[in-house]
């Protein structure tokens, strides 16, 4: 077992700079999630760690060993692919044992290790089947089993759940979480799904255009995003962003008539900012500013109300449990100053 260190890692494809320069420390035994929108470089980064992509520059350490120039098979990493990448001509046993066979381990050892992994994953009865005869979830387990069998220092997951249906995805998410607890091996996990990131990660790395936007635990990022991008990316439903103007008395909102909030920041009168507030942090109160709702979503446990801002953006309010509010009703909202985050409208950086 080992941690992973990336030192000034750079990756370009000809003239396209995929990862400009990146430093990152992943602790031993940590479950680290790379998250970001499509094209942010998260998969490239993972494949670079795996050795499937050559580094343009920089250094990758696994434990204390520099693996930058090593063959993928010699880095001590195992990878689970989005589409499983099971060998279609091999049965489950052969799929899981292939790496061991290449490593010339004795047959009895291979069989023992494969069966142990199969037990962990509940694949015992399917060892002699071909991938085509398995369900999506079983295939995913085989792919994981193939990684487990090798007893790697680091597990790499490349969007492993995105081909599964919603129900199965939730279940596999839990299983992965348990697996991490059982194995306590370092895991690096790539996803564009912030729910997976929030639920699985010890550490989340938010990426955009090949750069790290922020690194931290899920709640750290949730509560204290450094910029509007991170703030908007994590959390479901997403954080609302309200344009506001600084005045001597506080912030004034174009969309919330009469609301004026003092956030305690040093005001620069006339400056336009974006105020971020999560739907669940909004308070409904008779004292609040009026907001007409365009639609209401009853989810049973929670109820969301939606309004459209002048900018055309959507604005979401958690209505706190079941309420008799319908589309077209006007609610009155309060923004608790302690919960609102202020971002520079131009740089999108947080103003504290």
């Amino acid at each position: 077992m080992a941690g992973v260190t990336l030192n000034a890692v750079r990756k370009d494809y000809g003239t396209f700079l995929a990862i400009p320069e990146l430093d990152l420390e992943i602790e031993d035994g940590e479950f680290c999630v790379f998250v970001g929108p499509s094209g942010c470089g998260k998969s490239t980064l993972l494949r670079t760690i795996a050795g499937l992509e050559d580094l343009t520059d920089g250094q990758i350490l696994i434990g204390d060993q520099d693996v930058s120039d090593r063959h993928p098979g010699e880095r001590g990493v195992a990878m689970v692919f989005q589409n499983y990448a099971l060998y279609p001509h091999m049965n489950v046993r052969q799929n899981m044992g292939y790496a061991l066979r290449l490593a010339r381990e004795p047959k009895s050892t291979i069989s023992q290790k494969v069966e142990r992994a199969a037990d962990i994953l509940g694949l015992r009865d399917h060892l002699d089947r071909k991938p085509a005869e398995l369900s999506g979830g079983q295939r995913q387990r085989v792919a994981i089993g193939r990684a487990i069998v090798r007893n790697p220092k680091v597990f790499l997951f490349d969007e492993p759940l995105s081909n599964l249906d919603a129900e199965l995805r939730t279940r596999m998410r839990l299983e992965l979480s348990e697996l991490h607890q059982t194995l306590s091996t370092t895991m690096i996990y790539v996803t564009h799904d912030q729910v997976e990131a929030m639920t699985l990660a010890d550490k989340i790395v938010v990426l955009r255009a090949g750069r790290i936007e922020q690194v931290g635990s899920p709640l750290e990022l949730y509560d204290n995003p450094v910029n509007k991008f991170v703030a908007g990316f994590l959390g479901s439903p997403s954080m609302n962003f309200l344009p506001a103007t600084m005045t001597a008395n506080g912030l004034q909102f174009a969309d919330l008539d009469g609301a004026c909030v003092d956030f305690g920041t040093e005001p620069t009168p006339g400056k336009v900012v974006m105020v971020g507030i999560r739907p669940e942090h909004l308070e409904i109160s008779e004292d609040g500013a009026p907001l007409p709702l365009r639609s209401v979503e009853q989810l049973g446990g929670v109820t969301y109300g939606y309004a459209i801002l002048q900018s055309g953006e959507e604005f979401c309010v958690d209505l706190k449990g079941r309420r008799d509010i319908r589309a077209g009703d006007t609610i009155r909202l309060l923004i608790p100053p302690s919960r609102a985050l202020v971002f520079d409208a131009d740089t999108e950086l947080r103003i504290r």
């Binding site: 499937l52 063959h71 990878m79 692919f81 279609p88 001509h89 292939y98 790496a99 085509a132 193939r146």
Partner: protein, 292 residues
């Protein structure tokens, strides 16, 4: 008429041309051939009478037929094995990122689109021991000339070589398509499992190309077993009947010898033999590979 009946009728109407084609040009001739194979005299062109298995039994006494069968087996197996081996090797190189690959593919495919008659005559004139280009070139550089076309042991391999030359472009093309159809993540997964280049070829490429290999093997094998133009044009079946392939023997028996009953029996045996070989190849090589 119900909707179902009308729908069925429409389907049959569309199938009719194909059905008629197969009956007229396939099943009907096979039936005639089978009928003729049990007759002696002049079936089809004159008087004939029922002869039971006589024609089939005569094959065992026909030294030319036995020689033709062994020559045909050498030719068919040789063509198939060498075409597949070479095509596989070339395709694995050409499927990769090679600068000149389109040019090389075009060059390789060229023989396939040249008329077989032209290529047979071309090779005959190149390989002619006395007037051929090859020996002229060999003599120029001081090497001993070849006498392949006049050597009963070598001539069949000349035919094999020409057949490989002819078919390789086609096989390479099919193989390249198949190789490019193998998902790249399989190779990546295998690399992570510790596979080196030769492992990738042995454990991923080769097994996943099995259906393609089977397809090519069957197609090339069947075509080679029926080959007639090549020996007919290049060697006339010689030297010493070393290249008298089965189809040539059947042709000569039927059209030169006018033994139409016996020739029918010979063809029918070949028909059954091809059926059998195809079946065996499917049994041996067919593995269920479905990408998931």
């Amino acid at each position: 008429m119900t909707y179902r009946q009308r729908r069925a009728l429409t389907a049959y109407a569309f199938l009719l041309p194909a059905i008629v084609y197969f009956i007229v040009f396939f099943f009907w001739p096979i039936a005639i051939e089978l009928w003729a194979s049990f007759r002696s005299g002049q079936p089809l062109i004159g008087k004939s009478e029922f002869a039971g298995m006589k024609n089939y039994l005569y094959i065992f006494q026909d030294k030319l037929a036995i020689k033709a069968i062994s020559a045909t087996m050498i030719y068919a197996l040789g063509s198939t094995v060498f075409t597949l081996l070479l095509a596989l090797g070339l395709a694995s190189i050409l499927a990769g990122p090679l600068k000149a690959r389109n040019t090389i593919r075009a060059i390789l495919f060229f023989p396939y689109i040249v008329s077989f008659v032209i290529s047979a005559l071309m090779w005959k004139s190149i390989l002619d021991p006395y007037t051929g280009l090859l020996n002229a070139a060999l003599l120029k550089v001081g090497l001993p000339p070849q006498y392949w076309l006049t050597d009963p042991d070598a001539a069949i391999w000349v035919l094999v070589a020409v057949s490989v030359w002819k078919d390789i472009g086609y096989a390479v093309l099919i193989y390249i398509a198949a190789i490019q159809g193998i998902p790249s993540h399989l190779y990546q997964a295998a690399e992570l499992d510790g596979a080196r280049r030769h492992h990738l070829f042995r454990d991923i490429t080769l097994p996943l190309l099995m259906p393609t290999t089977l397809f090519l093997a069957v197609v090339i094998m069947i075509a080679s077993m029926q080959e007639m133009a090549l020996p007919y044009l290049m060697t006339g079946g010689g030297p010493a009947n070393a290249t008298r392939l089965y189809s040539l023997h059947v042709y000569e028996t039927a059209f030169q010898g006018l033994n139409i009953g016996y020739a029918s029996a010979l063809s029918f045996v070949m028909f059954l033999l091809i059926l059998l070989i195809t079946w065996v190849q499917f049994k041996l090589l067919n593995r269920d590979i479905r990408h998931v």
